[in-house]
Amino acid sequence: MTKKMINLTIDGMPLQVPSGTTVMKAAERLGIHLPRLCYHPNLSLEGACRVCVVQVKGFNHFLTACSQEVWEGMDVQTNSPEIRQARRDIVELLLDNHPQDCQTCDRDGNCELQRQAYRLGVRERLFEGKRKEYPIDESSASVVRNPSKCILCGRCVRVCAEVQGVSNLSQHGRGFKTVVGPANLGNMDESVCIQCGQCVAVCPTAAFLEQDHTERVWKALSMPRDVKHVVVQVAPAIRATLGEMFDLPMGTPVTGRIVTALRRLGFDEVFDTNFGADLTIVEEATEFLNRVSKGENLPLLTSCSPGWVSFLEKFYPEMIPYTSSCKSPMQMTSTLIKSYYAKKKGLDPKDIYVVAIMPCVAKKFEAARPEHAMEDGTPYTDAVLTTRELGWMIKSYGIDFNVLPDGEFDRPLGISSGAADIFGATGGVMEAALRTAAVKLTGEELGPLTFEEIRGVTGIKEATIRIDGKDIRIAVSNGLNNAKKVLDAIKSGEKEYHLVEIMACPGGCIMGGGQPYPMADHDPLDPETARTRAKALYSIDAHKQLRRSHENPAIEHLYVEFLGEPNGEMAHKLLHTHYQARTPRGIR
């Protein structure tokens, strides 16, 4: 059934839109971008900030364009001296109780409040309001909560509940004293937070930020080479997004420039998390094929996404036996750096400092997990920098990123297949696993390479792949609310799968909580951004000679020289981990 069409005028321009369209969306069709703070296209309507107010003929008060639906004959005015004044006043009032420390703020130059204030023409301060002063919650290994900078738009509350299904955040109290935080306004590390960092990604200000690791990395880099051997690894998703921080068009692959930039920053060795990704596939595919042949503990759930792993432990601990025991690519790479590479180089692992560049804030938590430490308690990964933190370090160091020549990763932990590159997009781990599993199952060298049915940024994708006369049923989900749906269907027996890929962030790592803030006039979580970034990864893959993880000669060599068999004793000791139910338990 087609929707009824509504006729209205906006700023004197007539247009026709389907009924149920909001004034904001209708205005966008005419190329009018109304200011907004609390509004987000993927989240429910809040109507809290009021900066999108418009004038409608027949009303002597302003209406909010984000929540007001159009009606027949509506006459909307989006710009008049009164409206401009009202919007300016609204933002000015928000600024009046906001800490006035833009110059020293992490979001300086990238803050939506700042941007709105500039655009709406707040040029002088007429009021001095009561400031919000709350302690900063730094208890979490991943996410810092600073309620003093909160403008109560509620985006974090909504993304946590509606996209991630975690519902860790809520507005507490009322009026001026309202504070956004976990239950009882307790500490983040004692909450059901799964550290995905989507609150950081959607926050218009600096009320949520990642835990800063740049300071410790600068410190390690400043030490003499023979005291600290500083090694870095770069996650697949970074090469598709870092360019955005240097004003390159979205989706520009910058792998080579990253390598050069890292060398110039002073890293002694530049490795690729892709190597760990290839290794993950070899281990995980072996684990998968073992389970298939025994017909037990199916479906196998992937374990690369640390946000998902936390969610598993807090919300679905009964699914732990189904989850792959494989460490994430980051942890596999770090572990090998401090074992295999250290041995090869004749270095004491204690003298090696491993930095991981990740699109993710949950990786900071993962790195700090006691399971991921050596016997003496030293973590395998010493620091985790988000894409944003690395971008800032490069700028801060005065490196002109856009003119850098391409560099190449160091060997051997820098050699990788295209299957590893696509790990950064939802469906990528599954595709990489299928490429290897197909070859192992059929014994034929040339199995299928692309699996179009699991590409794309849809929340849940399902497919049945026929390999060697067997139907392999698979599911791919991104955004934990979608994971919930898949897991509940598995639990109820409604669905039976062999292999399920779960990524915490909507769109996968390319949309991780540590990725660059959106460019002006792009929304965080924008599916178009996800598609463009994913395209970059698939193009890197398509241009590689090596396309299957198990064909990576460095991986083959690693097994011969060091690890023995996939899933063998040594591999188990170094490359696998375990999970445990955690409190507080989340309500799903």
């Binding site: 860790n168 409190t583 507080p584 338990r585």
Partner: protein, 181 residues
């Protein structure tokens, strides 16, 4: 509660743990609503029942409500802190209400409030550690002629000066001490 008794697929254990915290009629009410459309909209009604039974909403009680009703705990505590009516701590033996109506305010109710907070070591909405006093504010009590006014239980005092606060409180603390066996 620990994770073994709050796991959502271990329903019997959850229920048993909640029954140790909440009375049966509240558990029954929550269960009767569960599964109904928009059952989460019963949250306020449930919190009313909890407060009616215990006099306040404690953390363990809110946790039990969250588990039993399957509503995220952050939402429960968010709702509980939004409404002025809900109290998060047990009430004291004596309830102090400071009138913050216009007349009392003009006559220095803010100074009285500050003195009370200093004297008791608590903020509005809180209860002293010994459980003797709870401090609240109220709007006009209709005795503006006596402004500024403080009401303790059913007794109205006014006009009160900050220096008289300790003398008034003393009466109640003494009564409290005398009442002990």
């Amino acid at each position: 509660m620990n994770h073994t008794t709050s796991t959502t697929d271990n329903w019997d254990a959850v229920r048993a743990a909640c029954l140790e915290i909440l009375p049966e009629h509240i558990v029954a009410f929550i269960e009767q609503n569960r599964g109904m459309e928009h059952s989460e909209s019963q949250l306020i009604a449930v919190l009313h029942m909890v407060q009616a039974h215990f006099g306040f909403l404690g953390r363990d009680k809110m946790h039990a409500v969250a588990q039993l009703a399957q509503v995220p705990l952050a939402k429960v505590t968010g709702v509980a802190t939004f409404y002025h009516y809900f109290r998060l701590q047990p009430r004291g033996k004596h309830i102090i209400n400071v009138c913050l109506g216009t007349a009392c305010y003009v006559k220095g109710a803010d100074k009285l409030s500050q003195r009370l907070m200093d004297e008791l070591g608590i903020q509005f909405g809180e209860t002293t550690k010994d459980g003797v006093f709870s401090l609240d504010s109220t709007r006009c009590l209709g005795t503006c002629g006596l402004a500024p006014v403080v009401m303790i239980d059913d007794q109205v005092y006014g006009p009160v000066t900050p220096s008289e606060i300790s003398i008034i409180l003393e009466k109640y603390s003494r009564r409290q001490k005398g009442a002990r066996p």
